[in-house]
Amino acid sequence: MELSRSRSRSVLIHLLMIAASIVMLYPVFWWVGASLKDASEMSSAAIWPKKPVWDNFVKGWNFSKEYTFARFFGNTLLMEAWNVIGAVISSSLVAFGFSRIKFALSKFWFAVLLMTMMLPGQVTLIPQYIMYNNLGFVNSYVPLVLPHFLGGGAFFVFLVCQFIRGIPRELDEAAKIDGTSTFGLYYRIILPLILPALVNVAIFTFIWSWDDFMSQMLYLNSIDKYTVGLALRMFIDQFDVQWGQLLAMSLLSVMPSALIFLFAQRYFVEGIATTGLKG
């Protein structure tokens, strides 16, 4: 009796969850379907086209006269490579400093770091733009890449700090007795142990800077430097928008994030959980 009641309850929860999952992912299903529809089928409510075609992808890929999407993907991926390298190196260095070395005012600076997490980007936007403009860096990737080398975002430093604090200090002591330098301690002992946290930093840096549309729009003006996001915006601003092609290219543009997510899911959930909880 008791068993059957809990069983029917779990069936109910499953039904609810399946229904909710479908509702949540429905726009995505439709998106995939729409990208495979030809112009005559775009107006139908059917989620899947009767005759799926790759036309939208082929034409969308070549929508701009000057460059194909290969160029825009290439630009974005190159920028992302630098962003990820910068964020991983600088967040691990800074986090090590904060969590393993006792230096003057370290508590104060850490509090400042936490406060910058709440700082709205709009406040620094204009002076930063003026500064980069004066230095001649507008229409280059420098304003987009440089911040990742300078701390890589307070959030990531915090994430890695939380991780390092979970590593027993006895390891440090042992390494010190063996005569390891502080940098050696960072490089040879701590760095290998915080790899899971750094994978998280890399993933989120990749996804967030992919989506950071406002900065890309501000700092990149010439088409040869455009990222995928900017190319999509150029696509929308056309006089006669080909929705099928636009949807196909937008779908393609979220593929890198989606693939990373599918392959690194485990890290994702753990990463969010540790920072979220201990905040």
Binding site: I13, M17, A20, S21, M24, L25, P27, V28, W30, W31, A34, S43, A45, S90, L93, V94, F96, G97, F98, I101, F103, S106, W109, L113, M118, L119, P120, Q122, V123, T124, I126, P127, Q128, Y129, M131, N133, P147, F149, L150, A154, T182, D211, F213, M214, G229, L232, L247, S250, V254, S257, A258, F261, Q265, F268, V269, I272, A273, G276, L277, G279
Partner: protein
């Protein structure tokens, strides 16, 4: 004497090493945060078009802003957006997290399904999708017409445009949900068991155990949710372009256009500082209020 000085030297070396390690962040903070904040405060008292040197005009920008109907419009739009999407998103993600917080098969699959939209939702691509789906002959209206309902242009109608943006925001509840889920896992099972023995019902358990135990996580999500929603830009820029009739003209959009379409850098800096003060006030208010409802376990010990 010499022992003391080597000790002092080692001490100084340690401070230096510490600062060396945090120097990437410290340089970034000074050059890309602190200096720009101070500079934007200065610029907010000037007239500056980027072409000529800034000209000091005192508090004229602030006086103009107070009389600018667009300032009030954008502030109202943004506050409406914040007050609609933050509570909705929190409530929804907490509800789903509680449903998922049990050992059922396939939980990872559900979690993936719920998390995925929050992963891609901030991208310009999803804004494109939204604009298409909620358009006059978009997918949503097609579905409605099957049921014999005549839809409107959800994005072109002033009454519903902001609603579509709120919906897009709430659709991305997954990351908040994952944080809640992790928080729920930390609550000791014994608390629920002993309250069951005492005959507590579902609601009683929620208000007496779940909510207090989860309050720090809820607080964290609330603060970050408010700060994030105040700065909403991409979706308003791509989906509605601030329209129709400025119904989705968010504060960030207003600031962006003042600065980079009209090149009124001084005016836009004043807007930025007002935003900073508003967000700081909200955050302080939240911290003050948190004394009454956020429960930290260490207090009880």
């Amino acid at each position: 004497m010499s022992i003391l000085s080597t000790k002092a030297k080692r001490e100084a070396g340690r401070h230096l090493t510490g600062y060396l390690f945090i120097s990437p962040w410290l340089v970034g903070f000074l050059a890309l945060s602190l200096w720009p904040i101070l500079q934007s405060l200065y610029l907010s008292f000037t007239d500056y078009s980027l072409l000529e040197a800034p000209r000091w005009i005192g508090s004229a920008n602030y006086k103009d802003i107070v009389h600018d109907p667009l300032f009030y419009k954008s502030l109202t739009v943004t506050l409406t957006f914040v007050f609609a999407s933050v509570p909705l998103k929190l409530a929804f993600s907490l509800l789903v997290a509680m449903l998922l917080n049990r050992s059922i098969r396939g939980i990872n699959l559900y979690r993936t399904a719920f998390y995925f939209p929050s992963l891609i939702g901030g991208s310009i691509a999803v804004s494109v999708l939204w604009r298409n789906m909620f358009g006059m002959d978009g997918y949503i209206n097609k579905i409605l017409s099957i049921f014999g309902i005549e839809g409107t242009g959800w994005i072109s109608s002033p009454d519903t445009a902001l609603g579509t943006l709120v919906l897009l925001n709430v659709w991305q509840f997954g990351s908040t949900m994952v944080i809640f889920l992790a928080g729920l896992k930390q609550i000791p099972k014994e608390l629920y068991e002993s309250s069951s023995v005492d005959g507590a019902g579902v609601f009683r358990k929620f208000f007496s155990i779940t909510l207090p135990m989860l309050s720090p996580v809820l607080f964290f999500n609330l603060i970050l949710g408010i700060i994030g929603s105040f700065q909403m830009f991409t979706s308003a820029f791509i989906i509605t372009k601030g329209g129709p009739a400025n119904e989705t003209y968010t504060y960030a959009l207003f600031l962006y256009e003042k600065a980079f379409s009209q090149f009124q850098m001084g005016y836009a800096s004043a807007l930025a500082w007002i935003l900073l003060v508003i967000i700081a006030l909200f955050t302080l208010l939240n911290f003050a209020a948190s004394k009454y409802w956020v429960f930290y376990e260490t207090e009880a010990r």
